[in-house]
């Protein structure tokens, strides 16, 4: 019988590989993700993969974001914000220790925040900390942070991976030998393939159900598909082969969830370069692109369409997807009005992610329909950063901006969109100063509308968070308010 023979052969050849028929070890889990973190210190790099492995597992911040996107207490048990919104007083949890046994105190918080805001800081999200004026530690369990000006998103920023609390003693070596306060510590790292975390004794939150977790890094979509189907992975985040989802959904052993991320995927346009400096041309391009077709062709329709630079998962989202309906005739008319009746040529520089590479072909074809001849140029990420992002040497590019609530990048001077709008800069200042939710969300709405009206970029969709897991594994995050895979949430049925 083929099956019996296969088991026999597997036992003979592979000797010890878990066959799917064997009972699941309920204290272990194998999680597969696309990219490998090169370091394990979220304060030393921007890569999403660092956060996927470490956030809430190895390292913890004062506060955290839960699976619904809400700010929840972590190392800070509670906090108070002064009436003028300038002083934040955190009451710290007691009985917390770092993995090396050092007790966690307010001095660690002061050290971590000051390190992040220092002139030689290598923190990728320094903006979180720049509003800080001073940090006081009245006692070991209290931290008082005073801000220079009101910063509505300060607490939210403290929940990011970039704001984790480290110990001065071990901070320098965290990249390779991370020491945090979290429930897990690094066990072993086979660089290029996998790393494993083990639960620590005496974590303040108790004993998690999963004692040992292995993160495997599989870049190739075909290999991902093979790994989940063969049972090598218990769960797979950010599955790259969306077109195989129907097959996986039909598999009773697996659960498939398609959630939202904060990754606004856009066709960025160089607003400072002819002919894209003409609003009519940018609007024509917006009308010429059918975002539903791009969504379907590039990621099998798993993305959520957007009409501005804002995630539908955020409160304050305004649906502007109807602002520029797909209308090639109107696009042509707008181009003619702008004096480009016979079209023109543009280059589209495309970074490596699959969604970008695939979208590029569809976008090029759609723009071709209205007379814009697009030549696609695939570039590696370092070259994209250098040529497109830093030197603004591009016409069009496709990229996903994955940081949550990053609409403020449009207010940055000299950002690569070359969008220079004082009105938008003023609006963002108002957002920062708006401390009550209602007015802040209204201002966010205005900002979204302004970007759509100015047709700064073509807004396509937010990337999905596609998770495929074994049916008996519970607790995987469906959405990604920020990139994370907290192991304490997981359990086998």
């Amino acid at each position: 019988m083929p099956y019996r023979r296969s088991v026999l052969l597997a036992a003979l050849v592979a000797g010890g590989i878990a066959s799917p028929a064997l009972a699941q070890d309920k204290s272990q889990v194998v999680l597969c993700q696309t990219l490998e973190p090169t370091v394990l210190d979220p304060t030393a790099g921007a890569a999403q993969a660092i956060r996927e492995v470490t956030y809430g597992n190895i390292f913890e911040g004062l506060v955290a974001i839960d699976r619904a996107g809400k700010i929840v207490p972590k190392l800070a048990e509670s906090w108070q914000i002064s009436a003028d919104n300038l002083v934040y007083t955190f009451k710290l949890k007691s009985g917390v220790t770092f993995h090396d046994g050092t007790p966690f105190t307010s001095a660690d918080v002061k050290y971590s925040l000051e390190r992040a805001v220092a002139p030689d800081s290598k923190n990728a999200q320094k903006w979180i900390f720049t509003p800080i004026a001073s940090i006081e530690t009245p006692d070991a369990a209290t931290v008082k942070v005073t801000l220079k000006q009101v910063a509505a998103n300060f607490l939210y920023g403290l929940a990011w991976g970039d704001a984790i609390i480290v110990s001065e003693k071990t901070a320098a070596a965290n990249a390779t030998t991370p020491v945090g306060t979290g429930p897990y510590k690094l066990d072993k790292w086979t660089r290029g393939d996998r790393l494993s975390l083990v639960a620590v004794d005496g974590w303040w939150g108790g004993k998690p159900a999963i004692a040992r977790a292995t993160f495997r890094f599989i870049n190739d979509p075909q290999a991902q598909l093979a790994a989940i189907q063969s049972g090598d992975c218990d769960a797979l985040t950010n599955f790259g082969a969306a077109e195989a989802l129907p097959t996986l959904k039909a598999d009773k052993r697996l659960t498939v969830t398609i959630g939202k991320t904060e990754g606004e995927t856009i066709i960025a346009m160089n607003n400072g370069k002819k002919p894209l400096d003409d609003l009519r041309v940018r609007r024509a391009i917006a009308h010429a692109v059918d975002r539903n077709q791009v969504n379907l062709g590039a990621i099998n329709g798993t993305g959520t369409p957007i009409g501005s630079h804002f995630s539908p998962a955020q409160p304050g989202y305004v649906d502007l997807t109807g602002r520029y309906p797909y209308d090639p005739a109107k696009a042509k008319a707008l181009l003619a009005e702008a004096g480009y009746a016979s079209g023109f040529e543009l280059t589209l520089k495309v970074p490596p992610p699959a969604y970008a590479r695939r979208s590029s072909e569809i976008v090029a074809a759609m723009l071709g329909e209205v007379g814009i001849r697009v030549s696609i140029e695939n570039v590696e990420f370092p070259q994209w950063l250098d040529r497109v992002f830093k030197n603004k040497d591009y016409d069009l590019t496709i990229i996903s901006h994955t940081e949550p609530l990053d609409i403020n990048i449009y207010a940055r001077p000299d950002y690569y969109f070359n969008y220079k709008s004082q009105a938008f800069v003023d609006l963002m200042k108002k957002v920062d100063a708006a401390v009550d939710d209602k007015s802040r969300l209204a201002l966010y709405g205005d900002a979204q509308k302004m970007l759509a009206e100015d047709s700064v970029n073509v807004f396509l969709f937010v990337l999905p968070k596609v998770t495929v897991s074994k049916a008996s594994l519970t607790g995987m995050w469906a959405d990604w308010p920020l990139p994370a895979t907290p192991l304490t949430d997981l359990a086998w049925q």
């Binding site: 790259g240 097959t247 590479r357 695939r358 696609i376």
Partner: protein, 277 residues
């Protein structure tokens, strides 16, 4: 005395495959059943049918049309990269032979050996990263590896020819080295070069497929077999034809030109023929 075709089955089969491919590629330039780059998302991922003989891909593009145009692209990359390598390598090899034993000759041949031994994939990947992906740059990267192959061949052939009487006579008559090379040496090694070119061509097709598979060769939306394979990987279980046909096209082309090269070698190189019989 007629040529006994049946004694050379490889040559015949290889030649037939090569000719058929060229015909398909040529046809692809003027006519394809569908526009190979036009999107038709409603028709995506269809299986083989009377309308789309080999089905459609994830953007609804017709596989037959893409294979036809892809044949042209593959042959173009193969042809140009081999031609570049052939011209540069032959010139280099003949030149080195004319200075046989000199330090220059030694340096050229050592560099040759090194490039030949250095992993081709690695250098091609590095080169394409430096000068950017695309068909033209893939041609250049593949040509770099053809240069030493032809240089080595041309050098040894030239050395043999140079010692023959008619070359000595020509030199005595006062002909320049360049004229000797063109008038006497090149014609005498043309056969060997053609054979090698055919085999290098097959290798170039494989190399282009590999580079395109890594996303470094022919750029979208232009169809390329290697790229089609890459795009098809995730559909292997549900739409296997997407990966089967480009893979088969690559294999068939390489097979055809290898057979052709082997067959030609038998005709040109009597030593090899002796070994075969």
């Amino acid at each position: 005395m007629g040529f006994a075709w049946y004694r050379h089955p490889g040559l015949v089969v290889g030649g037939a495959i090569a000719l058929a491919l060229m015909a398909i590629a040529a046809l692809g330039f003027v006519w394809t059943p569908f526009d190979p780059t036009r999107l038709a998302l409603p028709d995506r991922l269809q299986g083989p049918s009377a309308l789309h003989w080999l089905g459609t891909d994830h953007l609804g593009r017709d596989t037959v049309a893409r294979l036809m145009v892809g044949a042209g692209n593959s042959l173009k990359v193969g042809l140009l990269s081999v031609a570049l390598g052939l011209v540069a390598g032959t010139a280099l090899g003949t030149w080195a032979a004319s200075r046989n034993g000199s330090l220059l000759d030694e340096a050229v041949m050592r560099t040759n050996d090194f490039v030949l031994a250095f992993p081709a994939v690695l250098t091609a990947v590095m080169m394409v990263h430096l000068i950017g992906p695309g068909a033209a740059n893939a041609i250049l990267a593949i040509a770099v590896f053809n240069v030493p192959v032809f240089a080595r061949l041309a050098r040894s052939a030239a050395l043999q020819v140079r010692s023959r009487d008619f070359v000595l006579a020509a030199r005595a008559a006062g002909l320049t080295e360049t004229r000797i090379a063109i008038a006497h040496i090149l014609p005498n090694m043309a056969g060997l070069l053609v054979v090698q070119a055919t085999i290098q061509f097959a290798i170039a097709i494989l190399a282009e497929a590999g580079l395109s598979y890594l996303g470094l060769g022919t750029q979208p939306p232009a169809p390329s077999w290697g790229r089609m394979l890459y795009e098809a990987r995730t559909y292997m279980q549900t739409q296997p034809w997407l990966a089967i046909f480009p893979g088969a096209a690559i294999a068939l082309t390489v097979l055809g030109f290898n057979l052709l090269g082997d067959g030609l070698r038998d005709l040109v190189d009597p030593r090899a023929r002796r070994a075969r019989t």
